[in-house]
């Protein structure tokens, strides 16, 4: 049965392997150029590095965009084109009547198909993410933090791909038609990814909280403080802070000296008392839609100093050294979901499919 599963999925696997190989070659050539460029332009640069850095970063933007897109899309494509049709196509074209009346039990047939193509999915996603993570190695260091590309580097794409495949297989078995199953798979995949990023990933490990002093804080720096209005609304105090270098800031908000979050009214009262310059309509230049107009350090210094005395910032974040723990946890979560979906697919195919 394993050899038949291979026979059936050979073409798609070879096509994928070919695309992967071509991509790897292109990535290898451009990646080596890139790291050479990094070594000559950036690595030994000590002063006035901006020009060198931007020259280095603009070197291969097409490749960078393409690889980022592939990293983002590959798991979904695996779910759509390998997962959804796995059993749906057999049902839609009627070949299940041929497949499930050979001398191999249906349970065995389903398990082996899931295992063989699922393993191929994991391998493909693994090699892809290996290539892409390697290529991006030095670029990421300059342009972003590890958490910002958490779902496109290292091992999480493997978890996503395995999940997308299994979800596709399950939905295909239940829906019994390839195209609707593909649409449903895309929906389920996007929902799972967005849901995880918004509601689960921040809480996989209980985040660390720290308080930041606002003394000396201005519109820039680790803690930002300013007065302004948003969308032309009332003038208020804005503050935001980041966790330590390369950490993932989940939230930050103002606390008063008693450790409570000030209400809008309290803030208005504070501004009334200490920042009379900013009171009244039009006192700060009205900002554009959705933009926070932060008043510069000179004009509002006394006001900001008062604010720094009255308030501090509470920052909630995941520290940089948890990156790999979170990578493993999220990958594990998606692999577990994939196993659940596979079990569902197996049950449905053996019990509910005619």
């Amino acid at each position: 049965m394993i050899r038949f599963a291979w026979l059936q999925s050979r073409t798609q696997t070879l096509v994928a392997a070919f695309v992967l190989a071509a991509l790897a070659v292109v990535a290898a050539i451009t990646g080596i150029q890139l790291s050479h460029l990094y070594a000559t332009l950036v690595a030994h640069c000590h002063t006035g590095c901006d020009l060198a850095t931007s020259q280095y970063l603009s070197h291969d933007q097409v490749m960078a965009r393409a690889l980022d897109l592939i990293a983002q899309a590959a798991p979904a494509l695996i779910g759509l084109f390998w997962g959804a049709p796995l059993i749906a196509r057999e049902i839609e074209t009627g070949t299940y009547r041929l497949a499930w009346t050979q001398g191999v039990s249906r349970s065995r047939w389903v398990i082996i198909k899931l295992a063989v193509v699922g393993l191929a999915s994991a391998t493909l996603a693994g090699l892809l993410t290996l290539t892409i993570t390697w290529w991006y190695g030095s670029v990421d260091k300059l342009t972003t933090t590890p958490y910002a590309v958490f779902d496109r580097r290292d091992i999480t794409p493997v978890g996503y791909a395995v999940f997308a495949f299994a979800a596709g297989a399950l939905l295909g078995t239940v829906i019994r038609r390839v195209l609707p199953a593909m649409a449903a798979t895309l929906g389920a995949y996007v929902a799972a990814r967005v849901g995880t990023a918004l509601w689960i990933r921040p809480h996989l490990l209980s985040p660390i909280q720290t308080t930041l002093s606002l003394r000396g804080a201005g519109p820039t720096g680790q803690a930002h403080l300013g007065v302004g209005s948003q969308n032309g609304g009332a003038v208020t105090l804005f503050a935001q802070g980041d966790g330590p270098h390369n950490s993932w800031t989940l939230s930050s908000h103002l606390l008063d000296s008693a450790g409570r979050q000030p209400t809008t009214r309290q803030l208005a009262a504070f501004l009334h008392d200490y920042c009379p310059n900013f009171r009244g309509p039009g006192a700060p230049p009205p900002s554009g839609q959705g933009v926070v107009q932060v008043v510069g350090p000179d004009a509002g210094r006394p006001c900001l100093d008062q604010a720094a005395k009255a308030f501090h910032l509470l920052v909630t974040y995941q520290p940089a050294d948890r990156y790999w723990t979170l990578q493993w946890l999220e990958t594990g979560l998606f692999v577990a979901l994939a196993l659940v979906a596979s079990a569902g697919c197996y049950w449905w195919a053996t019990h509910r499919t005619s």
Binding site: F4, R97, S105
Partner: protein
């Protein structure tokens, strides 16, 4: 005696709709059995239940004296050719043969190779590009090369043109003659059944309307033509299956163990087609009195 298919009170429901209800039948092994019935009679459902693709919602069904879903060794005993001969459009003929070999321990590679050769199929051709007749022949080859004890064919020639149909049935008869395999073949066309089958099962609305050896059935039934007569006055041993009256003439199909001696009747033999149709009508009329209420009252 081994039974090819034996069903007791078998029913199968799809959602709320019953495709087959309370079906009880015995189909003997060692025969070429024609399973005949109108569209929607539940033939496909019954055969899918027999080969284990479906599980019955009610009752029990056994094939070759074993539960239909008793595992891969049972699957190996049955060669199934589903309706429209499903094959993998993207696999070649040779890959289909390879599939049969990989999935069946009992696979007869020499038989498969010689059949492909005799049929003139190109092993490197993709199955999706073959004609309907070639597909059916390939599917039959796959079903037979696993050396089953029983061949189950679901409407094997329904989609074929007359020439391909004749060739397919010819192949089937050769295989039956040489390999001695039992066959259950469903069809809604009597001509096909008449050509190859020696045993007939007529299924109407999930119920067996008629079953028996073809020669015996033909010997048992007679067409009587004579002056108009009330069927109530027929002798008890002559069971009237169908009657039609025109002016002064009555035509009957009767079942009788004894010869018809009454000289008023002109007795002629019935064809298998007549017989199956007569029983189908009878079963339909007795099953659905509401639909004929008007006709009877008139």
């Amino acid at each position: 005696m081994t039974m090819a298919i034996e069903a007791f009170g078998v029913g199968r429901r799809y959602g709320r709709r019953w495709a087959l209800t309370d079906c009880t039948l015995s189909i003997p092994a060692g025969r070429v059995v024609g399973l005949v019935g109108p569209n929607g009679a539940g033939k496909s459902t019954l055969l899918h239940l027999a080969v284990g693709l479906l599980e019955p919602s009610a009752g029990t069904i056994s094939v070759l004296d074993q539960g239909a879903r008793s595992g891969p060794s049972q699957l190996e005993r049955i060669g199934f050719l589903a309706q429209d001969s499903p094959i993998y459009a993207r696999l070649t003929v040779a890959q289909h043969v390879r599939m049969g070999q990989l999935l069946n321990r009992t696979w007869d590679a020499a038989f498969a190779a010689s059949r492909i050769k005799n049929l003139g199929l190109d092993p490197s051709q993709r199955a999706g590009t073959m004609s309907g007749g070639q597909r059916a022949q390939l599917a039959l080859t796959l079903a037979v090369a696993k050396r089953p004890e029983l061949l189950v064919l679901d409407e094997p020639v329904a989609a074929l043109d007359p020439l391909a149909r004749r060739e397919f049935l010819q192949t089937l008869m050769e295989i039956v003659a040489v390999e001695g395999v039992s066959v259950v073949l469903s069809s809604h066309l009597m001509a096909d059944v008449e050509r190859v089958c020696d045993y007939l099962v007529v299924l109407v609305a999930g119920r067996v309307a008629l079953t028996g050896d073809v020669d015996e059935l033909l010997a048992l039934h007679h067409r009587l033509t004579g002056p108009r007569r009330d069927v109530a006055r027929m002798p008890a041993h002559q069971l009237v299956i169908e009657q039609s009256h025109v002016d002064k003439q009555t035509t009957l199909i009767v079942r009788s163990q004894e010869p018809i001696l009454d000289p008023v009747w002109n007795v002629t033999p019935v064809t298998l087609d007549d017989l199956a149709l007569a029983y189908m009508r009878q079963a339909r009329d007795s099953a659905g009195p509401s639909s004929n209420g008007l006709e009877l009252a008139r």
